[in-house]
């Protein structure tokens, strides 16, 4: 198992290098904004542009620029400096990461706590009003764009612009270390909004998996042996049905930790997603590279974690 994990980690490192190379190539090859021009404004002479390129190191050969970046990351853990704010990219990431982690973890808790019971109940009560309500609600949740849902939530429940002012609104986020209670209340609406789509997707998937699993021979055997329905469903059925979802959850969590840009934007949460978006707007390559690598890291780590969890949930994987 340890060798397997080690292999995955090494492969993950290779992937990170490839991702960084791809990001670099995309940034310079595709028609995007020129950071020197953005910094200079449209009145700058070619000489001024040249000065700015020199100052930012943009006039060096692309291979040299990439090598500098790679060697700085590998040997000095230095992601460089933002073209825009001149702040170290590492500190920008560290500053934004807690908000994104807070947002993601809270949303996960909600979607797991809601999606699993909904999926199970809908599967075990197929065709009843509970099932119809669950699947219909899930369809609504999947269809509603997060940005729109966020706006609706704010217009309904935010304490500054809402019709029923129940929760703190956009821009109210504070770090947990500053004020835990305000941290919690400010994230209630974003958590619910971010979790809604995932809840819907996972509830539907789980329902489908459960229906399939509950018709398996071993479930029939379990019932024949006299096990209670609750034990059959929750112990034998759910365990098998939830396994494929763990893979999906791993990817989703990794992606969300890389930034939930729409939710962060609509609720004014200074997270990694916003940082990435702003960096793209400003053609701030070092920050783009930093946020992309961070997101890739999360996805890779989540994948490894999923594989380990898989081995726990499914004994066949362990012995394979």
């Amino acid at each position: 198992m340890a060798a397997y994990v080690l292999r995955r980690v090494l492969w993950g490192l290779v992937l990170l290098v490839l991702v960084s190379l791809l990001t670099f190539v995309v940034f310079y090859v595709l028609p995007s904004a020129d950071p020197a021009q953005l910094r200079a404004g449209r009145n700058a002479s070619p000489a001024t542009l040249a000065q700015i390129r020199d100052s930012l190191g943009l006039d060096r050969p692309l291979t040299a620029q990439y090598w500098t970046f790679l060697s700085q990351v590998a040997f000095h853990a230095n992601l460089g400096y933002s073209y825009f704010s001149q702040a170290p990219v590492g500190s920008l990431l560290v500053d934004r990461l807690p908000a994104t982690i807070s947002l993601t973890l809270g949303a996960i808790v909600i979607w797991v706590l809601v999606a699993v019971p909904l999926g199970v109940v809908a599967a075990t009560r197929r065709g009843t009003w509970v099932d119809k309500l669950t699947t219909g609600g899930a369809l609504l949740g999947i269809s509603a764009p997060v940005y729109w849902l966020g706006l609706v939530a704010l217009y309904l429940f935010a304490d500054d612009i809402g019709i029923w002012p129940l929760f703190p609104g956009a821009g109210s986020y504070v770090p947990f270390t500053d004020d835990p209670w305000q941290w919690f209340t400010s994230l209630i609406l974003p958590w619910i909004v971010l979790a809604s789509t995932f809840t819907a997707v996972y509830a539907r998937l789980l329902r489908g998996n459960m229906i399939e699993v509950l018709s398996e021979d071993y479930v029939r055997t379990a019932r024949a042996k006299g096990l209670s329905e609750r034990r059959v469903v929750w112990r034998h059925g759910l365990r098998a049905a939830v396994t494929p979802l763990v893979t999906l959850a791993g990817l989703d969590i990794g992606l969300l930790l890389g930034g939930a840009v729409l939710t962060e934007t609509v609720f004014g949460i200074p997270g990694i997603g916003r940082l990435n978006y702003e960096a793209i707007v400003h053609a701030d390559y070092p920050v783009i590279q930093g946020t992309v690598l961070l997101a890739a890291c999360f996805v890779i780590v989540a994948n490894i974690a999923v594989d380990v969890a898989y081995a726990y949930l499914d004994p066949r994987v362990r012995t394979a």
Partner: protein, 584 residues
Amino acid sequence: MPRPVKRALPLLALCTAVLALGACGSSNNDGGAAATVDNGSGGQRGGTLTLLTSQDIQSLDPGITYGSLDLNLLSSAVRTLYAYAPDNPTDIQPDLAASAPQVSPDGKTLTVRIRSGVKFGPPVNREVTSRDVKYAIERGFNPHVANPYASTYYGDVVGADRATGGPIAGIKTPDNQTIVFELTRPTASLLAQATVLPLSAPVPPEYAKPLDAKSPSTYGNHLVSSGPYMISADRDGDVLGNGYVPGRSLRLVRNPNWSAATDDRPAYLNEVDFRIGGSPTVSGRQVLAGDGLVLGDSPTPALVKKAYQTARDQIFFSPGAGSRYAALNTAIPPFDDANLRKAVSAALDREQMRRIRGGEIVGEIASHFLYPGVLGFEEGGGQDGTGADFLENPQGDRALAERYMRAAGYADGRYTGDETLQIVGLAGAPDSNDAQIVDQTLQDLGFKTQLKLVDVSVMYGRFCGVPRARVHVCPNLGWIRDFADPQTVLNPAFNGNFIFPENNPNWPQLNDPAINRAMARGELTVGDQARADAWGAIDRQVTATGAAIPWLWDRQPNVFSADVRCVPELWNQGHCDFAYTSLK
């Protein structure tokens, strides 16, 4: 002159819904050039103003800053030699300077006396001298700073052509309170006006030099205040992670060393907080419903409509917020033919283009390039226009267009060439709609077209500002003056000497020798009226070429909470001036 992207096209469009307001523009606050503006006197002291903005600060370094929001911020944190009063966007008044600028009779020397008693904020804490202004300007030529307009406005200073950040021979400081600029050409009056830009704000060399030695300079993150406010910083003056967290927040607090006796500005507020990164859709509503808030972004069309209908005293339309035009590439066929250009101008329905953005409320239909509030506007034709027949009818004149087509050799009034015109416009309504109107107009005249809609920075950086991209039409261009002088509007935009292989500001690539010569003379013209006459005439010349189609003189909407007595900076698109604004 055009500012960086976020200043270049600042006016977020207003949806057609706003048009339904019908009588927009008929109120006292109609945003017209004659709109009366609060000058802020008698405000209440104290309180915290919070600015909500989706956009981060571009730079805190006065040697770099060029964006609208950044200028608004810096105008309260540093003191330039001269500045505009918020209600007068035309005439400069002394700020750090003690008196009006003294221009020598030959126009080649500018002398400025500096106030005594102005002190730097922490951690420098000493009196500002003329040497600090000298260093501030010299560092603009330092490649690590690379000021975007230093060579344009300070380029005539003796020795500036060789400057790389060290002393410039033509900037002299005979004593602590005097700075003298010696110029190679008689452009001193233009230079005096250019000192309203933040490059002339004092920078303490003993503090900034080590920071300027870094590439790029990090002085912006250690900005030393000379104005009524400063960015909250640690003991060493580092604002990063203290008063300024990129993409999150910025906090302006009182500069403890500021003395009201040395400043004409009241500085009522105790603090100004920037909350960065929210959605303008939400922030706008928060501003209208909340207390002590102003919106740093252009309000969304829905918000403008809501404010206009329900909270008229919480919205201000700033006149003179720039102009919009469509450029026709004069360097390549088919628009190297002036008659074809005029045909397109004549056919274009500029009224519809404005209607898409919100109608009268968003500005006046433009008929030339100097816009209201810029010196020379009246001389260039004023509201009535230059008399060019192809711009007379805002709804478009198909018959006239066909006459111009025939004059260009197309007997049936339709273009019959084979080439496909490349049109590059802005993605996202209503800009994309405006681009589509131009596209449709061209097709109606028989042109084959290919419309490409891209992001604003891509439009300028990869297409419209790059001659080798061979774009035929750029319909969504915008221009904002740097200060009230007409040269800043017309010179780079239409002077053949400003056609650069990249970052080209002369988008139609107009290279008319007569116009170039007139501009060369205009640059050296001294005196307000003489300059207004000279540049007004140039405006008429440029308009007559049909190289670009002026279609809107912008008004910029700004919104604020009911308890905010916003004193808008007319020179800077009507943002609330922090040094004059107060809470009710």
